[in-house]
């Protein structure tokens, strides 16, 4: 009987110990699922950059891929009758690669945080902007699509691309269509 009581007290004390630990509620932030991009149509805007070239006279030998490249790209398209009914798509992505002086080598470069933001430009003041962030990876993308009565067509877009590693951030942007100054 005494052993049962002792055992019960031990269990109660262990439970009390763990319940008494302070918990920082802020450390229990929920993370939403990563949203996938919509379909991609023609590319426009920011060039993905040249593929690495073999230096003349060094046939078959490439420079070592130790430099860091941030790439970004966006695209957009629409169908319909502007001002009456349009369907639209847009998409943006950012990615980082190891590379050479001439461009990426296709080797993923993992960064702490990578970001893409796309702003769709219409002919009037109706703007849609969306973004996505990814962590400990080399790629992030996001798309937007829909339909709208009475809306104008998308005529251009801007995209913003950012990569952060160890407190150092590289930011780049691209513009296309009517968003180009």
């Amino acid at each position: 009987m005494k052993m049962k009581i002792l055992f019960g007290l031990l269990v109660a004390s262990v439970v009390s110990f763990f319940l008494g630990l302070p918990v920082d509620a802020r450390e229990k932030e929920k993370r939403g699922p990563r949203e996938e991009s919509s379909s991609i149509t023609e590319s426009s805007g920011f060039d993905a950059g040249d593929q690495p070239q073999v230096p003349p006279g060094d046939f078959g030998i490439q420079q070592s891929c130790t430099w860091w490249w941030l790439y970004g790209q966006h695209s957009w398209s629409w169908r319909g009758i502007p001002g009456f009914f349009v369907t639209y798509n847009s998409y943006g992505k950012s990615w980082t690669e190891y590379g050479t002086s001439t461009g990426g080598c296709g080797i993923p470069l993992v960064v702490d945080r990578i970001y893409v933001q796309v702003t769709e430009y219409p002919l009037n003041s109706f703007y849609t902007s969306y973004d996505n962030t990814a962590f400990n990876t080399n790629f992030v993308d996001r798309g937007n699509s829909g339909s709208c009565f009475g809306c104008p067509n998308i005529c251009g877009a801007t995209s913003f691309h950012q990569a952060t590693k160890f407190g150092i951030t590289w930011s780049a942007s691209a513009r296309s269509g009517c968003a180009t100054p």
Binding site: W67, T169, W170, S171, A179
Partner: protein, 327 residues
């Protein structure tokens, strides 16, 4: 013959032992546990300088963009991520900010420091002001030393903003890099963030799926739009600036310097604000912060993988006819 009989066996005092164990577990161990979560200054000092090998890995490519980097004084005890700093009372916050302009065009910014989302005076390269104008010619990389007066005891959100001085267009992103920022926690002998009062803002199911904060004139006030298209609710902070100065504003029946609120998932929020503008105000914009007062490094060297973006609205150029509520 005398036969000795063993006396009654002495049973260990199990009751006493049980009480001791219980008291130890319920009283002493939780007290120790709470000590674990009390403030402890990290022993390891922070990095002594920027990682120039990493910086050069980007810069040497010749790709177009802007480089920004932040490195606090080693005695701020930051990690390589530069997201958390640990100070003693009366210790000033000192750091270097590096920015490189590889856009091919000159860039001009206001540098502004906020502590818990209130603009602070700070020294930049020895000069003290609440906003410092910097200009970086194309192809140049400049380093600035900043010093902030000692923050008080507690956990703080630190925000360094570089806001484009080329504002003037109402079109979002008409300025190529309208805002650059570095956000971090500063802990001064405590990890407790200040309590905040959250407002309830009018919300409706999202139709636009936009995450940009936009300002538009509305009658004699301004309408602010913010959306949260993600699957998770978003704690938010909103502040307003006129020129390079943070201003208070009326919203939802109260006066605010900072408006804290929650945005539910897949929600648009739109509500009117009345900025308290001075007569010399030429441009108005909002700064929106996702998830204020969170541990940016829940464990040292591990980045918190939640949305902690700092966004800027479109710039509204003010004129004589713009709605004004003079402060």
């Amino acid at each position: 013959m005398a036969i000795s009989q063993p006396g009654p066996q002495k049973v260990p005092d199990l009751w006493g032992l049980a009480i001791l164990v219980y008291a130890f577990s319920v009283i002493y161990l939780p007290a120790c546990a709470s000590q674990i979560h009390k403030f402890k200054l990290p022993e390891k000092l922070g990095p002594t300088d920027f990682d120039y090998e990493l910086i050069d890995a980007f810069v040497k490519t010749g790709q177009r963009g802007i480089l920004t980097a932040f490195n606090a004084d080693p005695h701020m005890r930051g990690t390589r991520l530069q997201l958390s700093y640990f100070l003693e009372m009366s210790q000033a916050f000192e750091a270097d900010f590096l920015t490189g302009n590889y856009t091919g065009e000159p860039i001009d910014y206001w540098l502004i420091c906020l502590l818990n989302y209130r603009q602070q005076e700070f020294q930049l390269n020895g000069q003290r002001a609440s906003a410092h104008a910097i200009s970086i010619p194309p192809g140049n990389r400049l380093r600035y030393s900043l010093r902030l007066h000692p923050p008080g005891k507690g956990g703080h959100d630190f925000l360094l903003l570089a806001i484009s001085r080329r504002a003037g267009s109402n079109i979002p992103n008409a300025v190529e890099f309208p805002v650059l920022s570095h956000r971090a926690n500063i802990f001064v002998e405590s990890r407790s963030f200040p309590p905040i009062k959250q407002a309830t803002v009018p919300q409706r199911a999202s139709g636009l799926r936009t995450t940009r904060v936009t300002l538009e004139p509305s009658h004699h006030r301004y309408l602010i739009h913010i959306s949260n298209p993600s699957a998770a609710a978003l704690r938010s902070a909103l502040i307003l600036f006129a020129n390079s100065r943070q201003i208070s504003f009326g919203a939802l029946g109260e006066r605010h310097w900072i408006l804290y609120f929650n945005l539910d998932s897949k929600i648009d929020a739109a509500f009117e604000i009345e900025p308290h503008l001075q007569n010399d105000a030429e441009v108005l914009y909002a700064i929106y912060v996702q998830n204020p007062f969170v541990l940016l490094e829940p464990k040292l060297e591990v980045m918190n993988q939640i949305q902690t973006r700092v966004e800027i609205s479109n710039f509204i150029t003010l004129n004589a006819n713009s709605p004004r509520q003079n402060s």
